[in-house]
Structures are given as C-alpha cells and as structure tokens.
C-alpha cells in the first residue's frame, strides 16, 4: 500500500516520496511486463516526476498490457466504453490495486462530499455488471463509490425511465442520498425528466449529492451549460444538496479529479499531472498542453503513468476553495482532424 495514501489527499505534497514510489513501480512493471520493458528500453531511473515514462492512453486499446508477478492476483478486465474508433481500452485489475484504488477514490471524494455513508442511487442498469470477465468502465465508476454507500441501487433500466419507485424507497430510508450517473445520462434520465409528484415531495426535504463524470460531449447538441445542468438537478432538492463533477479515466482507475467551486481540478498527493507540449513532449509551465497523469496505485499493468489525449493547463498551487496542492483546468480533447488521403471508400 502506498504510504502516501495515509495522508490527507489535498494536504502538503511530498513529491520526492511520490517520485520514489513511481520509480519503484516503473522498475516493477519493467520486470513484470515485457512489452513495457521494450517500450521503455534505454530510459534511466526517473530523477524527477517529469522523467517517469508514460504509456500513451491509446496503447491500451491496441494491445493488452499486463504485469505478471507472484504478488499480483489478477481479477477482471476493466473495459472503457467504445470510442469513435470503435475500440475499448482493456485494463487488467488485480486484488491489491483494487483495494488501493477504492481507498483512493473514497479519500478524494470524501473531501468534497463528506464521508458519511448514505444510500447510493446509480443511474445505470445492474445487467451491465454481467459482461463475462469484463467490467464496463461506467459500472466501475459507480462501484468505486460503493465504499461511501450504506445501500446501493441501480435505478435506470435500459431504454426506460428512472425507477422512481426505487428512488422514493431510498428517500424514505434516508434524507441524505448520493446519486451517480454519467453526465449525459444524469441529464437525460433525471434533470430533464418528469419526476413524479410524490418523489418530488421527498426530494424537497432531502440532501441530494449528485456525482457525475464522463464529460459533456453528449450535451453539445443542443448545448447544455454547466450552470443549467446543475440548476436543473438541484431544482426542488433540499438544503445542502450539491453537484460534483469529476474527471477520471479508465486508464487511471482509482484517481478522480473533482471540480471545485473555483473551477479547478484537484490532484491528490498520491498523484500528479504534468502538462506536455504535444510536439516535443517537454513539460510546460503555465501553458496549455497534453496531460500526463500518474499515480503509484496499479500493480496489474503499467497504467501508473499515462499520456492522455486530453488538454489542460496547470494552475498555481493554492486554490480559493481552500485546498492546498496541485490543481489544473481541463480544457478538452486534442482536436481531431479528418483523414486526408485516398485509401478508403
């Protein structure tokens, strides 16, 4: 278990300790994953966090990277939702890493929404769990909140409205509930839905914490602003209700980057974000660039340091929201361009 996990997530940073853990983990994966050893061949021991080698996030779509070691007990494979390329990332999960990752998510989110257990309503379908040996990312995201839940209910059957009876039942048990969904699903299934009067009555007296992730792509046409999204969710809910948006990816399972009220994404002390120039891969300070994300949690595969296709900018440490440490703004994806050539029909 990473000793950094014992610290408050947004307290003072010890980047030297993180570097040591990242260097040790890089060494471990070089020995345990031959393709990773090949692609990092010739690179020395990282002397700075910027030197920690990364795996491009797309490589997990193109091949299965897996670290085999006596200490690693593999479980299921975490699968991202198919992208425009039609392929999914496949991330092997293992017992120890899963424990670390669950602890990490709880620590990070607790700082934003409190740690007290409460009923968790997931806008998804439980049948998503039954996918052979694979775990869809959106279910994994929901299950990562399980440790914060006193009770877990999946309330959105496929192609049907939210099961408002189940929502009402949860609200009858507790006046304080967590609701999780992908951003687009939460909008369509809850914010834009006609909520039955009896449920509305319960919601008005409840503290509802909406947690969402997955980005705004599905809300681009017609565009839905963050303010409109949050206002629609919070309309008619009780005092203390809130909406929390976090950024995370399958290839960095266990680390989420919640958006604070000062519009910044916060990085826990056991993770780091480096912004790189896409053309030179040199680190950039104060400028927009491609995001490299790292954390010392995963043993099952070398996804401890990944170069994403997301674009962002590091913000100065110290946030008006009161949290210390590293923070950044997510600006979107690297813009894609059309194929130019003749080799398709």
């Amino acid at each position: 278990m990473s000793p950094l996990l014992d610290r408050p997530p947004f307290g003072p940073r010890d980047d030297e300790a993180l570097r040591r853990e990242m260097a040790a983990l890089t060494h471990f994966h070089r020995r345990a994953c031959p393709p990773y050893a090949e692609l990092t061949k010739g690179l020395g021991k990282p002397r700075r966090l910027e030197d920690v080698p990364f795996v491009h996030v797309g490589l997990f779509k193109q091949m299965e990277l897996r670290s085999e070691h006596a200490s690693v007990r593999h479980q299921r494979v975490l699968k991202s939702s198919a992208t425009t390329s039609g392929t999914s990332s496949r991330i092997p999960l293992d017992d120890e890493s899963s424990r670390r990752q669950a602890r990490s998510v709880v620590a990070i989110l607790s700082d934003f929404i409190g740690a007290e257990p409460r009923p968790l309503l997931v806008l998804d379908d439980p049948r998503s769990l039954r996918d052979g040996g694979e775990l869809p990312a959106r279910v994994a995201a929901a299950l990562s909140l399980k440790a914060m839940a006193s009770d877990l209910r999946f309330v959105l059957p496929p192609a049907r409205p939210v099961r408002w009876d189940a929502v009402k039942a949860a609200l009858e048990k507790s006046g304080d509930v967590l609701v999780y969904g992908l951003t687009g699903i939460l909008w369509a299934g809850w914010a834009a839905a006609a909520i039955p009067a009896d449920v509305r009555g319960r919601l008005a007296k409840a503290r509802v914490t909406f947690v969402h992730s997955g980005g705004w792509k599905t809300l681009e046409a017609p565009p839905v602003t963050r303010a409109a999204f949050e206002a629609a969710l919070l309309a008619g809910t009780g005092k203390g209700s809130q909406v929390l948006d976090y950024y995370g990816l399958v290839e960095q399972v266990g680390i989420v980057y919640p958006l604070c009220r000062a519009d910044a994404r916060h990085v826990p002390v056991w993770a780091d974000v480096i912004v790189r120039d896409p053309l030179t891969l040199e680190p950039r300070r104060g400028q927009e660039g491609q995001l490299q994300l790292m954390n010392p949690l995963p043993l099952g595969a070398p996804y401890h340091s990944v170069l994403t296709e997301d674009v962002g900018v590091r913000l100065p440490d110290g946030c008006p929201c009161g949290r210390a440490g590293r923070r950044f703004q997510l600006r979107g994806r690297i813009p894609q361009a059309e194929i130019r050539g003749c080799a398709n029909g």
Binding site: V55, E309, G341, A343
Partner: protein
Amino acid sequence: MRTAERPRLHYFRNAAGVTAVALPFALDTLVKDWTRVQRAMVRERPAEFRRDEWAYLMSSLTRERLRAPFTEAFGEAMATLPKGAAVGALARPRGTIAVWLPASVSLLGPLVSAMLLMTGSRLRLKGSARATDLTSTFLDFVRGKAPRGSALARALRQNVAHEVFDRDDTRNAAWAAAADMRVLFGSEEAARGVERLPHPTGSIASYFVDRRSEAWLHPDELTDANLRDVIRAFAIRGQAACTSPSRLVLIGAKDRDAVAVRDRMVALWSSAAPGDPAPHAASANVLASQWARANGWRAALAPRNAAVLAAGRYDLPFKPAALMLPVVAAREAQALAGLPANAQTLGVASNPRRLRRWLEIAASSKALRIVPIREMHRFGSIWDGRRFWADAFQIVEVRA
C-alpha cells in the same frame, strides 16, 4: 460534350500514325486559361487546402503537365495537318463520365476534374458528405479565377457538375445509367456497388480501389537526396494514400543497415518535410512509436513528433499507423515475393542502369508502376495498369 458546337480538330503523330482529336475547345486556349488560374494559385490558397497540397495541385497544372496526356496517348502535337497526310483514326470525347470520389479529404477530386476536363467529356463528380469537400472548393476557385467568357469558364459551366450525396442516394443509379464511363476511387465494396448498378451496354468502367506502394533502395542508392525523396513522398499523406510508400525496403541490405537508415532519415526529416504536425497527429505518432517498440520494432520519432520511423525485420508484423514508416532490409527475391497482393507503385531511385531490371520485375511482379520515388504521387495518363486518360476517348477509324 455539347454536340451543338462544332468540334475543333487537333492532330498528333506517333509511330502508329496521325490521330485527329476532336475537342469542344481549342486545346492551346484551354491550356492558357489553366496557366492563368495557376498563376492566381501562387497568390491565393483556400484555407481548406494545406500548403503542400496546394503546391502539388499547382505543379499539376503547368502547360507541360496538362499537355502530357495528349502526347502520351496520341503522340507529338502537329501545328497543322500537312497536305495529303494520312490520318489513321479520330479520337472523340466518350460523352458523359461519372466519377465517384473517395470519402476522405482527397486531392483526387481536384486532380481528376482538371485532368478529365481536358478530354472534352461531360463530367459528373460525386463527392462525399463525410469529408471536407476539396473538389467544390477547387472548382469554385477555378471558376472565380478563369477569365470571364474564356474557354475554361465555358467548359466548367457546360461540362462539369459536382454533387455531394451518400451511397444510398438514388442519384447513384441515375448517374450510372447515364454514364458512358464510370470511374470510382474507393473500396472494393464501393466498386462492386457501382458495378451492380444498371449501366448502358458499351459503357466502360475504371475502378481504382485501395492499393499499397513501396519504396525500394539498394545500398549504393542510400544517398541523402534519395532518403529525402522517400521522406517527401511519405510525409504528404503517410499510409493514407495508395501512392505513398507503405514501407522502405533496403534491397540486399542487412537488418542493422535499416537502423542506420532510420537514424539518417530522422536527421534529414526537418529539411525534407518542414512544418509542424497537427497536435493530434503528433500524439498518434507517439502512440504508434510505443506500439512499435512494444512489438519488436526499433522505432524513433521524427523531430517534433512529425512521424515514426521504425526499423525491423522484414517479416515483423506491422500495425498500420498514419505516419509510421517501416524501414526493412530484404533480398530482392524476398521483397518481390513480399509485395502485397494489391501492390501499386514501386518507388525506386532514378538510375537508368537499373532500367532493364525494373522492366524484368514489371514483367513478372504484381507492381502496376515502377517510377522514381520523387514521382510516386505523380501520374501521367496510365493509372493502375491501364491507359485511363485515353479511355476517356472513343477511337473512330476514318479512311478517306
């Protein structure tokens, strides 16, 4: 061709004799109009075109390039027909040519429209809604720059129609039914789809489907100039163009030579292909280089992540990535046997001493073109093994 107008006769002579070519315009006049447009292209470039694409188009519209297909098909132009000279045949525009363009951002539309316009046939060009339409942009530019009332302006107005629709549109069938010649650039599946459409008996078809090309160099040809030619040929479209080298094969070299050539190409890259890649392309190249290294290739990124050059064994599996060029060594027999089934162009060093060997290889291999590397993207009147441009004419036997 508008039959209402009296065709102009132009005469060409080759070893087979004199051919009269009937066109609905004076060839010299049309060529002059094109060169005026070309001059305007020097000053102005629509934003949809990249600089290298625009330069390539400009170089395709010189007087020499525009006249070359006539010379290749019919011989040297004759200013007049000498008294008493025998004419063996008359070539006349085939009629209506329907062209299905690829569903990618492609220069084929602009190139084909300019090239086929010179045949005097009526053109119907089908674009795709799935990609930025360079053909419309180019035709609008030419319409705007062609002198008012000129032969080119008239030819564009009367003989060129460009429409964008998808593969389920009823216009596909209507165009096939009315075309004297069907031309398609795209996949085998798309070609089969067009071929299945009812079409007139006696009409002809040219389908240009996905193909792969290679560049071959011998150890004595590994000069900086030749390696720069490979870089330029590859950099413009990478693996996305059938005329790009999909790999560089070092004939008669060793695997370790491939690594040395890779390093030389990395060093030469910026001088041969200046300019920055788009960020998404740079990122895709980082990904491709990692895939390659993880799978046994000795891959290196070109400066500013502009491409991936990967040295490896000839038979090492390769996953195509847009801007990744494998560099491999092979014996000639191995390279010949390893040409893909859909081989198109073999780019070679310009070396007249090897001409006979290239002829032997052309006679026995699947390659459809063997040309200097710097000419890999440059087509004359022969496309994919057929006299495509000449097919746009009907040949009429005429004896007095």
